[in-house]
């Protein structure tokens, strides 16, 4: 039976650095998927995930077991993604112009992204950062609104509104493409 996250955290805090690798193995893919949809760039997503795990390790003593480790980690990741997006804005690179490079986008089976996924990515890029973050957390990882609130710091009502608007906008964009 796999050790619980909290038990692994206690091992790491007790000096077993390598135990942190279990948490990396356990959450790396989920983090990468969220970051990839939020940032739209494989390179930025990998950097954000790497930095998030390092920050999680550094501040592991601040994790409280009453909270799910995944939620705590995702909060760090979301903040890191926001930092990356902010950095892009300072460089005056709009999200949509940043990178939509299909060659870097490979799914778990090793296949390149299909056209549908590419279209979804472009539609996500057209959302506001808040909307994109909300809809990705809601559907890419099936978080509840309460969990999303803990991760993002936003209220449940605001998150529901963001998801609703994001979905309406995405449907519109994807429909436009379908009829183009």
């Amino acid at each position: 039976m796999a050790a619980a996250d909290a038990q692994i955290v206690r091992s790491v805090l007790g000096g077993d650095t390598e135990a942190f690798g279990v948490l990396v193995d356990r959450y790396h893919e989920r983090c990468l998927r969220l970051a990839l949809h939020i940032l739209g760039s494989r390179e930025d997503a990998e950097d954000a995930v790497q930095e998030s795990f390092l920050r999680a390790y550094r501040y592991l003593g601040g994790y409280r077991e009453r909270e799910k480790f995944a939620a705590w980690l995702f909060r760090i990741l979301v903040n890191q993604c926001r930092t990356t997006l902010g950095s892009r804005q300072r460089r005056e690179l709009p999200f949509a112009e940043w990178e939509w490079n299909g060659s870097a986008a490979i799914d778990a089976s090793g296949a390149e992204w299909g056209e549908m996924r590419d279209e979804l990515a472009r539609a996500l890029a057209a959302l506001t950062p808040d909307q994109r973050e909300a809809v990705v957390l809601r559907y890419a990882d099936d978080l509840t609104y309460d969990e999303m609130a803990a991760v993002t710091g936003a209220g449940v009502s605001a998150l529901k509104m963001r998801v609703q608007r994001a979905c309406a906008r995405l449907r519109e964009l994807l429909m436009e493409k379908a009829h183009a």
């Binding site: 805090l13 390790y57 592991l60 003593g61 799914d107 778990a108 998801v163 609703q164």
Partner: protein, 208 residues
């Protein structure tokens, strides 16, 4: 019960949830940085890895090897230069790596003229370690490789140095002496006796 405030086509939901490819390399990068970060998990800012800071820096040599004490310590300096942008005068120092309790404290040299307007900058890494056989720089810019960015040695001065073009996201690094010892500047310790300031050379000119 599933909330229905927002819905997407099934294919879009499937695409959002489809697992993405990861690799052992990514996993190892994370763990390499974790290992290099040392054992601080106190939940307070700082940690033990390096940040390039806008402060005069002090270096610490982690003495992990029995004969590493023969190495004279170090000093480091860093110069930033943005490509094609206005030169701004300021001073920068360094920081770095995992520490051991036996670390030896030495003062670092001042530096430098710099500018920070663009995505690339030249950074001069300087380490005074006349007893070292090899010195390299490892950081987030080279995946924490201990060997890929060697410093060149100047026999007359005992100084190892290299100039590296870094992008704006590069923030953390450490010196690696003789492949095994990590050098950690410590900006909290200024002016230790026996220190060896290294005068830094501004990287002037327009490098557009």
């Amino acid at each position: 019960m599933r909330d229905r405030t927002g819905t997407l086509p099934e294919w879009a939901l499937a695409e959002l949830r489809r697992p993405v490819a990861t690799s052992d390399i990514l996993r190892e990068r994370v763990m390499a940085r974790v290992r290099a970060d040392g054992g601080a998990h106190v939940g307070t800012p700082g940690g033990r890895s390096v940040r390039i800071t806008a402060r005069p820096a002090v270096a610490r040599l982690a003495l992990r090897h029995p004969f590493s004490g023969a190495l004279l310590a170090l000093a480091a300096s860093v110069a930033w230069l943005a490509f094609g942008s206005t030169i701004v005068s300021s001073r920068y120092g360094i920081a770095s790596v995992p520490a051991t309790p036996a670390g030896r404290m030495i003062v670092l040299g001042d530096t430098v003229d710099s500018a920070l307007h663009d995505t690339l900058r030249l950074v001069r890494f300087v380490l005074h370690a006349p007893g070292a056989a090899r010195v390299s720089i490892a950081g987030d810019f080279n995946g924490w490789s201990r060997t890929s960015t060697p410093l060149a040695y100047s026999a007359g001065s005992g100084v190892w140095s290299a100039v590296v073009a870094l992008d704006r996201t590069s923030r953390e690094y450490a010196f690696v002496v003789d492949d095994t010892q990590w050098v950690q500047p410590d900006s909290t310790n200024g002016g230790a006796a026996g220190s060896t300031p290294v005068p830094a050379t501004p990287l002037g000119g327009d490098s557009t």
